[in-house]
């Protein structure tokens, strides 16, 4: 589904990703971990097409197409979804309005029939159960005056409505208390199917107790420093990120 080859990217002239290689197949959950500044959020933003980030080299193939040549909105309509670390507030636009617009833009793109407000309301009601959100959220402005946990749940609600093929969750666990974390993780697990794939970007192992990854990739200084199964996350939790840095110094980065 996704093939990242020797991807180099940065912001404001500073190189942050220094050659990332990663392959994600359908039906897989990948965790990207790493210390602050290692480039994990940059990777998420580059995949989503954030305009401030500049691709300096390499390529990203998504479903056989060059992802980096597609504008962000087209990526989204083609099934790439990024859950924002800091979801943006959109005052004056209700959650229901926003979601229907996004949903219908995708349907139009795929040549499918659009849903009218009533039809969409039914769909939304159904999908909202995934993150245990009640109807009052639908008439409120997008993320406006939402708590941190509500914003993150709202991201997963959007994912539930838009049904992406590839979801990138950028530090979705940050700022969540244990109950919200459980709801969010539970929502993600419900949405995971053999036909899609999920990349979980996180600093902490905690989230991975709930969303269990098939693969763990640890970033350090813009490169994948270590890869393994879910047990790698536990090892990291026990030893800390300094351990990776030490390994780096000793053995050098694994061949990319």
């Amino acid at each position: 589904m996704l093939e990242i080859k020797n991807l180099r990217a940065g912001i404001e002239g500073r190189e942050i990703l220094k050659g990332i290689n990663l392959t994600v197949n359908k039906g897989e959950i990948h965790a990207i971990m790493g210390p602050n500044g290692s480039g994990k959020s940059t990777l998420a933003k580059v995949l989503a097409g954030h305009p401030q980030y500049e691709v300096l080299g390499g390529e990203v193939i998504y479903e056989g197409r060059n992802l980096l040549e597609m504008p962000p909105d087209e990526r989204a309509r083609e099934g790439v979804f990024m859950a924002f670390q800091y979801p943006i507030e959109v005052p004056g636009v209700s959650n229901a309005q926003f979601l229907r617009l996004a949903y219908n833009e995708k349907r139009k793109h795929l040549g499918e029939e659009e849903l009218d407000p009533l039809e969409f309301k039914d769909l939304l009601k159904e999908r909202a159960k995934v993150v245990e959100m009640d109807a009052s959220f639908m008439t409120r402005s997008v993320n406006e005056n939402f708590s941190g946990g509500e914003k993150k749940r709202n991201e997963i609600l959007q994912m539930a409505v838009l049904e992406p093929k590839l979801a990138v969750l950028d530090e979705t666990d940050s700022g969540l208390d244990i109950d919200a974390l459980r709801i969010v993780a539970n929502g993600v697990n419900q949405l995971f199917t053999p036909a899609n794939a999920i990349i979980v970007v996180t600093h902490y192992q905690r989230l991975l107790n709930y969303i269990v990854p098939h693969f763990v990739h640890v970033l350090a200084d813009g490169r994948i420093a270590r890869e393994g199964g879910k047990e790698l996350a536990l090892e990291l939790e026990a030893k800390g990120y300094d351990w990776i840095k030490t390994v780096d110094k000793g053995a050098g980065a694994p061949a990319n």
Partner: protein, 436 residues
């Protein structure tokens, strides 16, 4: 100061001499107002209050005042909510034949000029007319007062609640027209009033409107003003309200039309416990200029005011917002908040905003602020990341910006009319995409 315009006989002076005489006191008021106009003339950019809004072209236009009402039949639509409570004023003259007042109940809505001669109302009119809209220092209000020949007198008797909103459509055709409105809401009454300024032609004319509003003790008035004059029009208007004890006056002014428009709104709270919300939205495109000057005057303790004005400017459109909030000595426990926010959709648009707070009491809660910004790229990216193309995204954000004012309007058809208007201004958007 005597401007070029009034040095010699002009269209206004000629028309003024042709006006029909009325009762002595009103003749006196009109004559004195004309004197003031001749003395003051049209405002000049040299005056602080008119610094950013140049009406010198208006002075040169020599519009001919409309001095008799037309009798031409025409269809002027009301909102569905006001089908039975709709007054039509054409070029400043109330047209009873085009108006529907069957839903008014005990509320009186009649020609202001005839109310002057009506024994039932002449005392009220005499007491309140030209009381809040002073013409001594304002040439434009003086001109409106000099040409007082018709207009609307709206009287909501004590304890009467008008269930349906009342709409007054001010329809303009050409020349200089002078709509005048006097509203007196007696003790513990309540009503909703909509003023709509419209035109059927795209032409040049000059609307100079004055509204005076008295909200007595315990009364409540909700007041909407929707200005959709033609693109070639000059629109100058003032709304002056005085509030009684524990009364409430909420007003929302929507300014969309006219080439050059100016609205002065003032709310004076000289009795304890009054509350007001003075909100507005202006939206201008290329070659449009709109100016709002607002005064909210807290003269007594325990009054509350809220003000939210938002502006959307496109092309080389220009806007001015000047909002003064006074908290006078002794007006303790005043609670005043004022905000002006502007969204520039183009690099050529310009706004001059000046919120002002003057406080002479020490136990008050006041805040004010102004902001001028453009579409936030982070917000836009968020929408794009959800599959919304950038153009639609910009429209959605603009719509959302306006919605903070529009969404508060309690009359459904005004709200949907404005939603539609806002979205029509925005390129290639399907209105149906946005409806809930």
């Amino acid at each position: 100061m005597v401007t070029e315009l009034v040095k010699s006989e002009n269209s206004y002076q000629a028309a003024f001499r042709s006006l029909r005489a009325t009762v002595a006191w009103l003749d006196l008021v009109r004559n004195s107002a004309m004197d003031r106009f001749e003395h003051l003339g049209f405002p000049s950019v040299r005056e602080e209050d008119w610094k950013y809004t140049n009406f010198s072209t208006l002075a040169k236009e020599e519009f001919v005042p409309v001095t008799s009402g037309s009798t031409e039949a025409r269809e002027i639509e009301s909102y569905p909510e006001t089908a039975e409570t709709h007054l039509v004023v054409v070029d400043g003259f109330l047209r009873e034949d085009l108006s529907t007042t069957t839903g008014l109940g005990d509320v009186v809505a009649i020609d202001l000029f005839s109310a002057v001669e009506d024994a039932r109302y002449n005392k009220i009119v005499r007491k309140y007319l030209a009381r809040n809209a002073g013409y001594h220092n304002n040439g434009l209000t003086a001109l409106n007062t000099a040409f007082l020949q018709s207009g609307v007198f709206l009287w909501i008797p004590k304890n009467v609640k008008l269930e349906r909103p009342l709409q007054i459509t001010f329809f303009a055709e050409g020349g200089a027209n002078f709509p005048r409105l006097l509203v007196v809401a007696e003790e513990n009454s309540s009503a909703t009033l909509i003023e709509s300024f419209v035109s059927s032609n795209g032409g040049k004319y000059f609307t100079n409107a004055t509204a005076e509003i008295v909200v007595k003790d315990g009364a409540q008035l909700e007041h909407y003003r929707v200005q959709r004059e033609s693109n070639g029009a000059y629109h100058v208007s003032s709304t002056s309200a005085e509030l009684g004890r524990s009364s409430r006056y909420d007003t929302t002014s929507i300014n969309l039309g006219a080439q050059l428009s100016r609205h002065d709104v003032s709310v004076v709270m000289d009795h304890e416990g009054a509350e007001t919300a003075v909100d507005g939205l202006y939206m201008v495109g290329s070659d449009q200029h709109t100016d709002t000057h607002s005064v909210i005057d807290h003269k007594q303790p325990h009054c509350t005011s809220r003000q939210l004005y938002k502006g959307i400017l496109d092309g080389n459109g220009r806007a001015v917002f000047n909002g003064k909030v006074f908290v006078r000595e002794g007006a303790q426990k005043t609670d005043a908040q004022q905000t002006n926010k502007n969204l520039l959709l183009s690099d050529k648009a310009r706004v001059d905003t000046k919120p002002q707070l003057e406080i002479y009491a020490d136990d008050v809660k006041c805040a004010h602020g102004a902001a001028v910004g453009q579409i936030d790229p982070e917000e836009l990216f968020y929408l794009e990341a959800r599959g919304i193309d950038p153009e639609l995204g910009r429209n959605l954000l603009t719509y959302g910006f306006a919605e903070e004012v529009i969404g508060k309007i309690k009359i459904d058809s005004i709200r949907s009319q404005l939603d539609e208007f806002v979205l029509r201004q925005l390129v290639s958007t399907d209105y149906a995409d946005f409806t809930d």
